[in-house]
């Protein structure tokens, strides 16, 4: 049997409930209705608040903090195909918490690795993200990442840019981390106007490009190594790689 759900964390919890109590053994879990004919029964799981809440409370009670957080983190890896592994992981956890550190189990290892990849992207973005200054001193950054790392970026920048007003805009997911005196947190972005830069912005971005150019050693040039450090994928919004 194939299971279908809407891709949200809440509905996934209902799905866990169904699998557990109806003793389903799914062959796969889909986020979208398949466009091709499948020769398998398809069961669509719909969000059920009571069931989701029951599972959520059970997870909080039975799972160690580290394991519980891993489940949340895996859900930030929205582009990845993690559902079957995560279902297995949760079932395993209800049986034995200890097994959740057993990286010789393939699904557990895959989730550990996926979480590490998420952390890696978040870490890279904390360096590669670029703010530009708008009129009235607001800082604005665009990000476009494989997984959703806005939460981590928000944590990171609210420490270091504590006295600044800024917006980190996840253009792929229409979300933004907003840090102003009035509001601090993640918001849905409904509409967005192209911002106007401050007077000084051009001077400092040019100064940065000047620095970037002249700090390179021409006689040691190694573009391959540079690409390993900052893959092309990340360069779209980086000041020094934009002409």
């Amino acid at each position: 049997m194939l299971l279908l759900y809407d891709g949200s964390f809440e509905t996934f919890l209902t799905l866990v409930h169904e699998v557990y109590y109806k003793k389903i053994n799914p062959d796969g879990i889909l986020k979208k209705r398949p466009d091709m004919l499948v020769f398998d029964t398809l069961y669509e799981v719909r969000y059920d608040e009571a069931k989701s809440l029951a599972v959520y409370e059970a997870l909080q009670k039975k799972f160690a903090r580290e394991h519980f957080e891993r489940i949340l983190h895996i859900f930030m890896c929205d582009g990845a195909d993690f559902e079957s592994d995560l279902l297995h992981y949760i079932m395993l956890g209800f049986k034995s918490q200890k097994e959740l550190d057993n990286i010789t189990i393939a699904s557990v290892f895959r989730l550990h690795s996926l979480q590490k990849e998420l952390f890696r992207i978040a870490h890279k973005m904390s360096g590669f993200l670029r703010f530009s200054e708008l009129e009235e001193g607001m800082l604005y950054a665009k990000v476009d990442t494989k997984y959703s790392v806005l939460y981590f970026l928000g944590l990171h920048f609210s420490k270091r840019l504590n006295n600044q007003n800024y917006i980190i805009h996840d253009i792929q997911r229409d979300l933004a981390f907003v840090h102003t005196n009035a509001f601090k947190g993640i918001q849905k972005v409904a509409e967005f106007q192209i911002p106007r830069h401050s007077k000084e912005e051009q001077k400092f971005s040019r100064l940065w490009r000047t620095f970037f150019q002249s700090t390179s050693m021409q006689n040691k040039e190694n573009k391959k190594l540079q690409r390993q450090g900052v893959p092309l994928l990340y360069r779209a919004y980086m000041t020094e790689f934009i002409n």
Partner: protein, 411 residues
């Protein structure tokens, strides 16, 4: 003639780039509500230069005017190059603006010697005071201490900076005397010792310090270099030694000719050996000795050591200690930790290592998995050596070395 700010930036970052140290790791939670800036415990790369180095700090000289005449240095007084200077306020402003835009983790400030050592140090301190006191900037600041400046100035720098350093530059006093007439080993080491004492008076955790050695400009062997590094680590004087392959920029009869290519591979091997000292529990005389005082260019230092100590192998991965696992060629800190975690649950076989994405290309010659050796593989020194050498080159290992063949340290 007054230079504009872009020209100054061009000149003063160009002059600073030969200093290779760049790390920015520090304490995580030094931010303060309502202020700007915080360090990060792991260090963050903000971009990579076209030569592949991580950029995390605004690395500039306050000025490249210099009264010294060090033969290896681009800024030596005798060189006819464009000169410039930032004012302390100018540089502090740029730092804060760069930081706000997330271009950098902080500032790496060095300088040529203008007028006198004390005058130079005082200008650098002025920049730091503006940043720390006026702008309440808590980000990372690395300051090069000026050898020969007064102890009070060094003390103040230690109080304001996240990390301080002073370049030893050349691995021996003899070389120093011949190439840097204004410096002696005593003079370059003294700011480091002073800084350590000052910071120990204030806290029990001494301030992080580092230094840089130029490799290939003078005849010291790798063993002499590593012996120096390991002495500096042991005395807990330094957190890091950086090695910089000498790039001939000045034509001087005491130096390798301008045609010499920078010994990049040698620099790479030294870094590998340095990691063995700092993270893998090796001592320098395990890696090198009087009979073979230089690192093998074909093999990484750990493989080379293992081949010379085959009596310690093979190592059983299911029962050896973390320290023993770390000594297996091809197994790093992450691999060793994964093995420790996984073997709590089952006896590991060679396939399990592959499933855990631990590379066994090198390691398989040196391990036992649950008592079993890899039968089809050679287990004699020379055979292993040639097997290791015929492995396809890993891309991660500085590809240019093999692309343009620019290497080797012999002069």
């Amino acid at each position: 003639m007054k230079k504009d700010i872009f020209t100054k930036m061009q000149i003063l970052s160009d002059s600073a780039k030969y200093d290779v140290s760049c790390s920015s790791s520090g304490s995580e939670n030094n931010y303060k509500t309502g202020e700007l800036g915080a360090a990060n415990s792991s260090g963050i790369c903000h971009t990579f230069t076209s030569d592949g180095r991580c950029v995390s700090l605004l690395k500039v000289l306050l000025t490249n005017f210099c009264i010294y005449d060090c033969a290896y240095c681009i800024n030596r007084v005798g060189n006819d190059i464009p000169r410039a200077a930032f004012s302390p306020r100018e540089l502090a402003d740029i730092t804060v603006h760069f930081y706000k835009r997330n271009y950098i983790e902080g500032l790496f400030l060095s300088s040529g010697i203008i007028q006198s050592e004390d005058h130079t140090m005082e200008l650098m301190l002025r920049t730091l005071r503006i940043l720390r006191h006026e702008y309440r900037f808590n980000g990372y600041i690395h300051v090069k201490l000026i050898p020969g400046s007064s102890p009070e100035l060094i003390e103040e720098a230690v109080g304001l900076a996240s990390r301080v350093s002073s370049n030893i530059e050349l691995p021996s006093d003899v070389s120093l005397r011949s190439l840097a007439p204004n410096k002696t080993k005593e003079k370059v080491l003294s700011p480091l010792k002073l800084a350590r004492n000052f910071s120990l008076e204030q806290t029990d955790k001494p301030i992080g310090m580092s230094t840089q050695l130029i490799v290939g400009a003078t005849p010291e062997s790798d063993m002499e270099i590593l012996r120096l590094s390991s002495a500096l680590y042991e005395k807990a004087l330094l957190k890091r030694v950086y090695y910089s392959a000498y790039i001939p920029i000045n034509d001087d009869k005491k130096l390798p000719s301008l045609m010499t290519k920078p010994p990049l591979l040698r620099e790479h091997r030294l870094y590998q050996a340095d990691w063995l000292l700092r993270f893998y529990g090796f001592s320098y005389d395990e890696i090198l000795n009087e009979a073979s005082p230089n690192l093998d260019e074909e093999l990484d230092p750990k493989s080379f050591w293992a081949l010379n100590n085959l009596h310690l192998f093979p190592v059983e991965i299911n029962s050896s200690s973390y320290e023993e696992l770390l000594r297996i060629p091809g197994i790093g800190v992450r691999g060793a930790k994964k093995i420790l975690q996984a073997r709590r649950f089952k006896k590991l076989k060679i396939e399990d290592l592959a499933a855990l994405r631990i590379s066994v290309k090198k390691a398989r010659y040196f391990i036992l998995c649950d008592g079993r050796m890899q039968k089809e593989l050679p287990h004699y020194g020379e055979h292993i050596r040639s097997a290791l050498l015929s492995l396809p080159k890993q891309k991660k290992e500085q590809p240019t070395l093999f692309d343009n063949g620019a290497f080797f340290g012999e002069f």
